[in-house]
Every structure is written in C-alpha cells, then in structure tokens.
Amino acid sequence: MNNDAPLRALRRPELDRVTDVELDRLVTRLESEQAARAGSRGTRRGGGRRHVRRALIALAMLAILTTGTALAAGTNPVDWVKRTWFPHAAVDSVAATDDVSLQTLNAAERRTLRQMLDGMPADRGDLGPLQSEMKPVGDGRVLVDGADGRVSALASKRGDVCIVWSKPAASRASGGTCVGEFPESGVAVVAGYDGNVAEIPGLFADDVSTITIETRDGAVHDVELGANGFIWRSDASIGDGPVSMRIIRAGITYDIKLGDPRPASSPSTTP
C-alpha cells in the first residue's frame, strides 16, 4: 500500500456534501453556544449545561462506590474525565514507585480493569481478555501505594491510559477509568465515596505544581502530591465533601467542579 488510492475508500464522498441550510443551522447553533459561553463567568469553564452534566456524572461515580463495588467506567465517568486531551504519553512520562503488571494487580483491581474495558465480561477470573487488551509488563506504574490504598496507571494496546485505584485489601473496593488522552488540566481522577468519606485518587502530569480541593464548608485543602499520583480523602463526614478542584499546571489555573457526593442532595451545579 504505497499510495493513497486504496485508502480513498475510507472517505465517503456523500458525507462531504454540506448544504447551505445545514451549514446555516450549524453556524447559528455555534454562535448561540458561543454567546452563552461569552456571557458566563470564567474563561476556562464550560457552559452551565456542561457543568451540570459534569457534576451529575461525578455524583454518579461517587454513588456507585457507595456500595463498595468496582466502578465500571466506560460510559459517563470516562466522559467526565475526558475533557480536553493531549497525546497520550502519560504512562511513559510518569514517575513511579514500582512497576505493575496484570499479574501483580489484586483481584479487585483486575475486576475493575476488566469492567473498564469495553465489551469485557466482568465475571471471568482469568487474565486472558486483559492480556489481549493491555500492554505487557513494564508499561504499568504504581503511582501511590500507602495506607489509603493504591493507584496504578496501565497502558492498553489501544493507547488508553487506565487508572486503577484500590482501597486497602480489607475493603475490597476498587475503581478506575481509562482515558484516551490526558486532560488539559494535567489531572485525571476517579472519585469515590464509601458512605462517610469521599476519596479522590488521581494521576497528574509532571508540570502540575499544585492541586487543592474545596469542600462544602468552604475550606481549601492542599492535596499531597506523590510520584505523579495522589489519593485525597475528606477528613471527616461527607458534610464536608469536596465540591471543586483547583489545579495549577504550568502557571495556568484550572477549576473543576466535583459535584456533591451525597446522593440525596443536589446543590447548585453552575459555576
């Protein structure tokens, strides 16, 4: 296949035809959306609708972990994390406390990973499906491994970076998400809530200097940054649950709305 001729079949000519009516309608929509953006506060935040969606998704993620089951990303949680991306070299560039492979993942982590990857049965105990999806030993890194649990990043053969978080062994809880590329903010997180304590494990890029989390009581908490990974826990009850995350990356500040982890309440989700 030395020229483009065989590949031209990948382009369907009929899809290239855009009528004036279609274009006018699209431009009107884009102008309307832009007017809404320009009228909202802050330049790095999306419109209100997007914030509502993001917050609701965060809420869904938090609620899922309430049961202590594995968090199956691949639908909304992935969309939540996948906002704006850069080309995926994340796993290669991160520091690590240790390598991790499919064999060294614990059962909960493997279960989570299987659920995160599209189309995989969740109940199979063998490593076969994972081995066909994930890159081999050496492409995974443990980013955090401590009393609050473990955060690992593994690369899939499709080019995704999968973040797998597991709580200490006794709880058997695990969560995660796979991201095709890394957020512009330089931080990808998985949020968790066990009924009392909210937890936000995540992965961050080298040039992220500061991450803070604001809780409902208005307090701002510094996130302790490890080797490209972190696990933040709310100190006490969920009454002080996280509402937003501020990230400073290469001198630029990014604000991310986290939503309210309490299933019964729904505070304002607009900026």
Binding site: L7, L15, R29, E33, D118
Partner: protein, 184 residues
Amino acid sequence: MMGSPADTTHRIDATTFPALVRDHAATVLRYARQRVGADLAEDIVSDTFADAWRRRERFNAHPGDNAAAWLLGIATFVVARHRRAEQRWLQMRIDTAQLEAAEFAIDESARADEQLDAVSVHARLIRALARLPRRERDPLLLHVQAGLDYDAIAEALDVPLGTIKSRISRGRTRLEHAMERDRP
C-alpha cells in the same frame, strides 16, 4: 491536500471567533461526519469550537498556525472522547459492506463478481481501520478524510513531523497486513 488552506484567522478573540466559526464550521463538520457519522457530527463540531475557545490563548501564542488544521486537531481529540460512537460507526460501515457483499454474492450478473470484490475489500479495510491504534488512525484519517498534508497534521496534533510520517507509514503497513490476514 489541504496543506495550507486559505486562512485569515491569526488571532482568536470575541471579535474574530464568529468569523472562525463561519470560515471553518463546514470543514470540521465534514471531517466529523467521516469520523463518526452524521448523527453525532454536529455535537463533535460544537465541542470542537467550545474547546477552541477555551484553548484560544494557545493558538494566539503561535501566530503562524493554520486555524483549519488546529481545529481539525481539536476535533480529532473530541472524537477520541467518543470512542464507542466511532467504533459503532465503523461497525455500521462494515455491516453495510457485508450486506452489499451478500447481495452481490447471489447476483448472477456480469459485474457482480467485480462488485463483490470491491465491497469485500472495503469491509476488510474498515475492519482493519477499526483495529488500528489511535495514534496511527488519527493522522492517517486526517490525511485521507480531511485532506491535510503531513506538515498540517503535525501542527494539528502537535506532534513532530517525523513522528507523523512514521505513524502514517506504520498505519498503512498495519492496514495492509490486517487486510491480508482478513482475506477469505
């Protein structure tokens, strides 16, 4: 190839953004349709311009950059957020080609064999494309579907030119091998 389309956008701000939309919405829409189908394409375009607005300072910091290529690069990242939709679209194209192949297979007209070969090749091509790693699929489709040349693709994806060339080359080879393995 689109290498350097006529482009008058040198800076993005509130006054120039409407012109950016008018000048490039159709280009981004065509590309989005090719990547994910018509149903989702307008949402992809919407997210692309939303991201473009958020990232405008990055564009403004590089006055020589080509706005069309830059937008198509953003659209490519937006498509990446819709991996399942993209895979569904590719599967639909495979299914369509296979249905056509089945019809030609029972057709006894003179051109049926020739048409059967064509749709079979097409199905194998799309199937191979669906399995291609994103790092190779994206530049390849920016080239084939959006008509960007290698320089523009490198700019669009913010990846060195040499890397783009090798990814496209590897992608082509991988497609060829996958189609060969898939041959009935």
